[in-house]
């Protein structure tokens, strides 16, 4: 229910799996990114799915690259990731099937409250990046070839700047949460998905420097591992899970999920 999800309960990773009275008949493995798992969304959704179907969802949260690799090797049954371009390519190659745009949110630029680069009030991310580069203010990059990282690199390209190797540009090759922490400690800016930022909002002093630029759209996709490639995968159950997420009920649940009083994800395909 909405109440349970919106207090701090889901943040508590130790407290989150109270097995229900539901009889578990089978299990599927969901490979996903840290951004969907760490904020508690899946701990909110999955028990409801289990209740309906008796299928337990075992979540493995990794970097997007590792999640895709895990799926491609057939070590997971279903994926929930946010790197649309790679996803579509892999679907085309036949690695995954039944891909749907399940939900979206957006990227934001966050930075220190003092805003040394003067990003506040700027409307476009490219412009903000220009200001950061001009002022040689610290910018922390995930540098892990994740969806977020690729988005960030596209923005630098649009700004006509090559930040690689600059003193003020810290490429750290870590997850979003870690990146936010490093940005916080080094009083720098970074590009983040909104979900992760809200989830760890409490423990950092970073504030939102820029939001709302249509260029900062972040689409999540759900898809199944192709049973033709990996005959052992539980394709039917994966389909059940995808159907659940795409159903009206599932979409409504996603819409209702809140952390720290904020909505983290919006159902369906964002750029209509």
């Amino acid at each position: 229910s909405r109440e349970a999800a919106s207090d701090s309960e889901p943040e508590n990773g130790v407290d989150d799996e109270t097995p229900g009275v539901v009889k578990i008949t089978d299990r599927i493995i969901l490979a996903t990114t840290t951004s969907t798992y760490d904020c508690g969304l899946l701990d909110f959704l999955n028990p409801l799915f289990t209740e309906k179907t008796g299928i337990e969802v075992q979540v493995i949260s990794q970097g997007t690259g590792a999640a895709l690799e895990t799926g491609a090797r057939g070590d997971a049954d279903v994926l929930l990731v946010h790197d649309r371009k790679s996803e579509l390519k892999l679907v085309e190659e036949g690695t995954f099937i039944d891909r749907y745009d399940v939900m979206y949110n957006d990227f934001i630029v966050v930075g220190p409250a003092e805003d040394p680069a003067g990003v506040d009030g700027v409307a476009s991310a490219v412009e903000a990046f220009n200001l950061i580069a001009a002022g040689e203010d610290i910018f922390v990059s995930r540098g892990d070839d994740s969806g977020t990282n690729r988005m960030e690199l596209r923005l630098w390209e649009s700004a006509g700047i090559d930040p690689e190797g600059q003193d003020w540009y810290l490429s750290i090759g870590q997850g979003m949460g870690d990146t936010l922490r490093v940005a916080d400690e080094s009083m720098g800016y970074t590009l983040t998905d909104r979900g992760t930022y809200i989830a760890i909002f409490d423990s950092v002093e970073l504030v939102i420097a820029l939001e709302g630029d249509p260029a900062l759209f972040n689409q999540y996709g759900v898809m199944a591992v192709n049973p033709k490639e990996h005959p052992h995968v539980k394709y039917n159950y994966a389909l059940l899970y995808i159907e659940f997420l795409m159903s009206d009920e599932g979409q409504n649940l996603i819409n209702s999920f809140q952390v720290n009083g904020e909505r983290l994800f919006f159902p369906g395909y964002g750029l209509k």
Binding site: E11, N12, G13, V14, D15, D16, E17, T18, P19, I29, T34, D38, D43, Q58, V59, I60, S61, R73, G74, D75, G175, G177, D178, L180, R181, A199, I200, D202, S203, V204, H230, H232
Partner: protein, 232 residues
């Protein structure tokens, strides 16, 4: 720092109120690492004793290789086991990936070189004299091995504790082969990493403290076994 206290208190509250999820994680940690160390000891102590009784010149290369394997990054060990157990890997059909068994395998891989290497060092100190004495008194090979091991039991205890310490504190390998699945393959260290990632540093440290306390209790237990083994 007050948040640190809160986190630690929160961790202890979870333990004292017998929080089922936490208890389950702790017990899995102990089962996985305990089993891994038992297996590593069964492999490592005899092997280490054997090597320790050989003249050092003959085992020099082997020593170096064993010492090198002590420095195997857990992530790499985890990846190797992953590639073997993965569906496409040679042992994929067994379906062991993301199970506690896979975690035990990875930890055995990490703990064995430590147990072998340190047992060997411990036995070198006076193992050969003891071996000869035992042999001269008519001991068969099993009794010889047992005697040599008992004579170096303090060093071997150290080897086991060091091995256990390594695996119980390790996260890279169990994360990869176990998947940190809640209620299934989540152990103390992967829970700590998860909390860290979420920014709950204080809770993470609290969990770390609990892990240390458990280690302390286990060490104390091993200590008394070692003392009791042969009249102090």
């Amino acid at each position: 720092m007050s948040r640190l206290f809160e986190g630690i208190i929160e961790a202890f509250r979870l333990i004292i109120t017998l929080n089922p999820a936490l208890l389950q994680i702790v017990s899995l940690s102990l089962r996985v690492s305990g089993m891994a160390v038992v297996i590593a000891a069964l492999i490592g102590i005899p092997l280490g004793a054997l090597l320790g009784l050989k003249p050092e010149k003959k085992t020099r290369l082997l020593n170096k290789i064993i010492f090198t394997f002590m420095g195997m990054p857990p992530v790499v060990a985890g990846l190797i086991i992953y590639l073997i157990l993965s569906r496409q890997g040679p042992l994929g059909v067994l379906g062991l990936l993301y199970t506690p068994t896979a975690m035990i395998i990875a930890q055995v891989f990490l703990a064995s070189p430590i147990v072998i290497g340190l047992t060997m060092i411990g036995i070198r100190a006076r193992g050969c004299d003891v071996e000869e004495m035992a042999r001269s008194l008519g001991a068969g090979s099993v009794l010889i091995a047992w005697t040599v091991i008992m004579e170096s039991r303090f060093a071997i205890l150290g080897a086991i504790i060091t091995g256990f310490s390594r695996v119980v504190a390790e996260v890279g390998a169990v994360m990869i082969v176990g998947g940190n699945i809640a209620g299934h393959t989540r152990v103390m260290t992967t829970a700590i990493v998860l909390e860290t990632r979420k920014g709950n540093f204080e809770l993470a440290i609290g969990l770390g403290l609990i892990l240390l306390i458990i280690s302390f209790i286990i060490n104390s237990g091993l200590y008394s076994i070692q003392k009791g083994g042969k009249n102090g």
